[in-house]
Structure formats: structure tokens, C-alpha cells
């Protein structure tokens, strides 16, 4: 009996030790995942109507420099809008020409630009470190952004957990967009894919098919869609989910055009 117990111990003890070692090692790898930057971040993303995403972020430098506050909103869906552009001015301050932005944002919107500038200047000057009240925004002069909402998104941000390690795409453009002309004769139009980052991780991917008349497939009434179109939307949804899970753009089970589009998006994510 003693002999059996001894043999049992000899076999079990190393297995337990190896098991504990593997668990500890895995925990360590998980904890160390990511890259430390010269600052840490607290941020909030709010999804709004029409695929707008509003964000507030506070960056805390590791040195004794001031914190950095950014508030803006981005649209990952729409390709262009007459109200969104980047003006180039001449020496006299007259608009010389306009450049289309890569992606629509509140800060490149004719209507919201001044508000966004005022908000960013205000928060960077005030350097709020804790929850604020309406009184704290009394001197902020804005016309279109709702102060109550601003107060709410800031308070949620300042109370959120600080992010210390950045994901692998921290050097990539905060937002990136690519497009691909459809090669399917029965589906003339253009494919478009856009990503947005969250401290070096992919926060969201938006894939759209825009037909020749400028209509978005995602806006089409489900009842008026044919089976091919429904299949495309399902394909897009599943590839998006998988890419977000893997934190890498996947092209699995997609048609040739979407594959090319997503390969371009992955290249965009890794190009510096």
C-alpha cells in the first residue's frame, strides 16, 4: 500500500508542480500583454445614431507634464458630406481650397468645429482630475454640443479604469479607411472599410457596400433585400466579430472583393 502511495506521489507531485507553473506563467503573460507608452489613458467610447462614435480621453504623462484631454466624434460609415471638409487658407485668411477628410469628424464639421476646439482648449486649460459638476462648465462657451452630455461623458471617463499597456497598433493612425471597387458585375459599386483604435487595440470596424447611386446596403430595408444581399451583410457581421476577437483583420469566408478590401485594411493598420 505504501509502495502504491509512493509511486502515486512520484507521479502526482510533478504534474501538480508543472500545472501550477503553467497557470502562473499564463497569468504573467496575460498581465504583461501590451506595450507601456510614455503615458497612460482613461477613455470612453459612446455609440451614437448613424454610426457616429463620440470619445473622451484623458492621457496622463508619466512625467510631470500636464494631462491631455481630447473630445471628438467620428463617423465610420459615411464616405463624404458637404459639411465636412478641411479648408486650406491663404495668407489673408481666405479659403483657397477644400480637402476631403479621410473620415467625417465633429472637428472637421462646419457646424461643430468651433465647439470641439473650445471644448478641447477648455479641458486642457482646466486640467480636471476628478468628477465635475455643471458649475465647472459654466465658462465654457459652446453652441451645439450639449453640456449635460459633455459633463456625463467626462465624468464616466475620469472614473473609468486607467489603461497602462497599449495594444499592438499604437503607432497606427487613430482611424483608417480603405476602399475597393466592386468587380462583381451584378453588384456595381464600392466597398469601404474603416477602423478606429482604443489605446492601440481595434475598437471597431465598419464595413459598407455603397452602390453606384451612393446608397448604403446597410440602410436597405430587410424586406427589400435579396438573398445575396442578406448573405453579404451576414458575412460582414461575422468577419467583423472575428476580427475584433482576434485583434487582427481576418478575411475568412468572404468574397473576393471583401477579401481584397480587408487585406488593404490590415495593411493600413500596420503601415507607419
Amino acid at each position: 500500500m505504501q509502495k502504491i502511495m509512493k509511486i502515486g506521489m512520484v507521479l502526482i507531485v510533478p504534474i501538480v508542480i508543472i500545472g501550477v507553473f503553467l497557470i502562473l506563467n499564463d497569468t504573467k503573460t496575460q498581465a504583461e500583454k501590451g506595450t507601456p507608452l510614455s503615458f497612460t489613458r482613461k477613455n470612453t467610447f459612446d455609440r451614437k445614431e448613424d454610426d457616429w462614435i463620440y470619445t473622451f480621453e484623458i492621457n496622463y504623462p508619466n512625467t510631470n507634464e500636464k494631462n491631455n484631454y481630447i473630445f471628438d466624434g467620428y463617423n465610420l460609415k459615411y464616405k463624404e458630406s458637404e459639411e465636412h471638409y478641411i479648408p486650406v487658407y491663404d495668407e489673408n485668411g481666405n479659403e483657397a481650397y477644400r480637402v476631403k477628410p479621410e473620415c467625417l469628424s465633429l472637428s472637421n464639421s462646419e457646424k461643430y468645429k468651433d465647439d470641439i476646439l473650445s471644448i478641447n482648449l477648455y479641458f486642457n486649460e482646466k486640467q480636471f482630475e476628478e468628477k465635475i459638476t455643471e458649475d465647472d462648465l459654466q465658462d465654457l462657451d459652446i453652441n451645439y454640443i450639449d453640456k449635460e452630455y459633455l459633463l456625463d461623458i467626462f465624468n464616466r471617463t475620469v472614473e473609468s479604469k486607467v489603461k497602462t499597456l497599449a495594444g499592438e497598433y499604437y503607432n497606427s493612425s487613430f482611424i483608417g479607411r480603405v476602399s475597393q471597387e466592386s468587380t462583381d458585375k451584378n453588384l456595381p459599386g464600392e466597398w469601404q472599410a474603416t477602423y478606429i483604435l482604443d489605446f492601440g487595440n481595434i475598437y471597431d470596424i465598419n464595413i459598407q457596400f455603397i452602390d453606384k447611386s451612393g446608397n448604403y446596403l446597410s440602410e436597405k430595408d430587410n424586406q427589400n433585400m435579396n438573398s445575396k444581399e442578406k448573405g453579404i451583410l451576414n458575412q460582414i457581421e461575422s468577419v467583423k466579430k472575428e476580427s475584433l476577437n482576434l485583434q487582427k483583420i481576418t478575411t475568412k469566408n468572404t468574397n473576393k472583393d471583401v477579401q481584397t478590401l480587408l487585406e488593404k485594411l490590415q495593411n493600413k493598420l500596420t503601415e507607419y
Binding site: 481630447i70 476646439l117 486642457n124 503607432n171
Partner: protein
């Protein structure tokens, strides 16, 4: 017949004078702007030899065209600091290069919101009188936190000389 001849002569004069008046523009290809640093140091693009269609190279005849603005990288913290873009005329070693024009690409948060020609520093001759070729380049630096590198081309540019 006489009227026809007069009309033909008139058209020839008009067309001829227009041809004389049209000054060709010499432009670089469209290039991606280089990665820049915040505060320091300045980063230069390569030099481009551009020809003027005037008798000499004048600063007032230079142009910088901006396009394809993109977003700042996620790793860069910025609030409202611009990227300063100086159009320079390069001189042979030993002589100081000349600042011709100064532009600012303004950024709010991570978005380029506008660009402006802030001032023309040298409107007159930027090279020796009679020299019809200028060596032009851009030098750039960003406002913001000391030494932080923006590892991303933020826009495309094209330099032209009339």
C-alpha cells in the same frame, strides 16, 4: 474676304497673346509628408529642383498644395498643437537656406482641421538673379510634447513653382 482676313488676324493676336501670358507651372509629384517630431528636431523632405517660367525665382511664385490629411497615431497625445511646415530654398553648402513661406496644419485632438499659409517670408528673389532653377524643400516640426515622435505621415504635399 478682307473682313475674314481681319478676323483671322485678330484671332491670331488674341490666341498668340494668351499663349505668351500663360505661365507654365513646374510641380513635384505628390509625396507623403515625412514623420515629424513634437517640438524638436525639424525634419526635412528631399530637395526638388523646380524651374520658373519667369526671369528669376521669386518666393511669391512658389506654392505648397496639401491633400490626403489623416489622423494622428493613437500613441500621440495632442490637444490643439499645429504641425509647422516651412517652405525652404536650399543653397549650396556654406550658405544658409532661405525660409520662403511658413504654413501651419492645425490639429484638434487627433484630426487635421485646416491648413493656412501663415506668412510669406521671402516674396522676392530666392536665388541669384537670372537663375531659373530653385532647390525647394519642406522642413517640419510639430507643436506638443517635447520629443514625441509622430510615426505617421499626416498628409501629402506637392511643391510648385510658377
Amino acid at each position: 474676304m478682307k473682313r475674314k482676313m481681319m478676323l483671322l488676324g485678330f484671332l491670331t493676336i488674341i490666341l498668340g497673346s494668351n499663349v505668351v501670358n500663360v505661365k507654365a507651372k513646374d510641380c513635384t509629384e505628390i509625396h507623403a509628408a515625412p514623420h515629424v517630431y513634437q517640438v524638436a528636431p525639424y525634419v526635412n523632405t528631399k530637395r526638388f529642383g523646380l524651374y520658373t517660367s519667369y526671369d528669376s525665382c521669386y518666393g511669391s511664385n512658389t506654392e505648397v498644395w496639401f491633400s490626403s490629411f489623416t489622423f494622428l497615431p493613437d500613441s500621440v497625445t495632442n490637444s490643439v498643437d499645429p504641425i509647422w511646415v516651412d517652405l525652404m530654398e536650399g543653397d549650396p553648402e556654406g550658405n544658409e537656406d532661405e525660409l520662403v513661406k511658413q504654413y501651419a496644419v492645425r490639429i484638434i485632438g487627433r484630426t487635421a482641421t485646416d491648413a493656412q499659409l501663415i506668412r510669406t517670408v521671402t516674396a522676392g528673389l530666392i536665388d541669384s538673379e537670372g537663375d531659373k532653377k530653385a532647390e525647394l524643400y519642406l522642413r517640419m516640426v510639430s507643436g506638443g510634447r517635447q520629443g514625441l515622435s509622430i510615426e505617421k505621415s499626416m498628409f501629402n504635399y506637392q511643391i510648385c513653382m510658377k
